[in-house]
Symmetry: C2
Subunit: 209 residues, 2 copies
């Protein structure tokens, strides 16, 4: 019962098998973290031998980097879509904060934290991390620039403000990952902080929908 029989995997087209491996890697990363994305774990998940995984993805470092990129890119797209619905910059910024700090994406947060750590010994992953950080920063910077133009945000450096904001969010999420107990308050004071950072009056970012 504990050891499922190993039956030979059905022969599939390279494109299909390759996609299955990518998907298996994604699921392993979300369920057990980026450190668990190993040749053998992916193979087990995909119902295939480690040798086949190695055949399709000759470098594990690269596969880990791609897996990280896929997970984060999907998150960015998802949040960007959500923001598009909001009427103005204040609502978008408020929604961005509330969404990223609502505690429903801890699996992605784990991936981020592990990427920072593992990236120190996996150069392709480090490059992916930089890319995805830039992508996130662009999304946030756009909101802030829109806000300075149309909604009274005050900052002399929208790019720096975007970095600060992302740093705060990442830190709060990473912290909540480890902290037991009252997780509820994860983002309870971030609105005030960001309002202060961008020269907005208190409550300017409160949800209005």
């Amino acid at each position: 019962m504990s050891t499922p029989v190993r039956t030979r995997a059905a022969r599939k087209s390279p494109a299909e098998r390759s996609a299955e491996i990518v998907e298996a890697a994604r699921l392993v990363a979300l369920e057990h973290g980026l450190a668990a994305v190993t040749l053998r774990a992916i193979a087990a998940r995909a119902g295939v031998t480690p040798a086949l995984v190695a055949h399709y993805r000759p470098s594990m470092d690269v596969l880990v980097a791609e897996t990280f990129a896929a997970i984060v890119a999907a998150e960015i797209d998802e949040v960007a879509d959500l923001l598009a619905d909001r009427p103005g910059p204040r609502e978008r910024l408020g929604a961005l904060l509330d969404t990223l700090l609502d505690g429903t994406r801890d699996d992605v947060t784990i991936v981020w934290v592990e990427a920072w750590a593992i990236g120190r010994r996996n150069e392709p992953l480090a490059a992916s991390v930089r890319e995805q950080m830039d992508a996130w920063q662009e999304v946030v910077q756009d909101v802030i620039e829109d806000g300075t133009a149309r909604a009274g945000f005050r900052t002399e450096d929208a790019a720096a403000a975007a970095w600060q904001l992302l740093g705060m969010i990442d830190g709060l999420n990473a912290q909540a990952l480890v902290r037991w107990g009252d997780q509820s308050a994860r983002g309870s004071m971030i609105h005030g902080a960001v309002e202060g950072m961008l020269g907005l009056e208190r409550g300017a970012l409160a949800a209005r929908d």
Copy 2:
């Protein structure tokens, strides 16, 4: 030249040798990160065989956890001492932010980030991380409570505010670790953010010494 001759280590008292091993672990962690704290790396650093390290510290997980705790506890003491010199809560809080975000402690930041990641698979380390987070939180909360009593800080939950503040700092530092280029702006806007969070007027936390 590349392989230093292995001469037998001089016989020392258990207390002394044990202390040397602890110190070797600390240095390895600061120089190469917590992931590099291995039996063999510590042994090489201490000029001793891996078996001896294992003899004195039967569990590597525990040694890694202790190493993390020692490094962070030293940092907390150091910063707490520095804060004690400041005249009031505003100066203390400003100094806290400036000190922790001045970019001179990246070695410790690496240890933090790796501890978050490795702690997911090393329970003693996870416990150490929680302890040290609590210790940091206590330091920050004390400053904030002092500020609400004497310096016009406004918050209904000093404990939550302390957590938020630490999360922000950790996130900004972790981010700076990975980001290339303009590291200078790491904490450029944190004063405004914290002022907003604590209901202070702009510039309240500026350095005055």
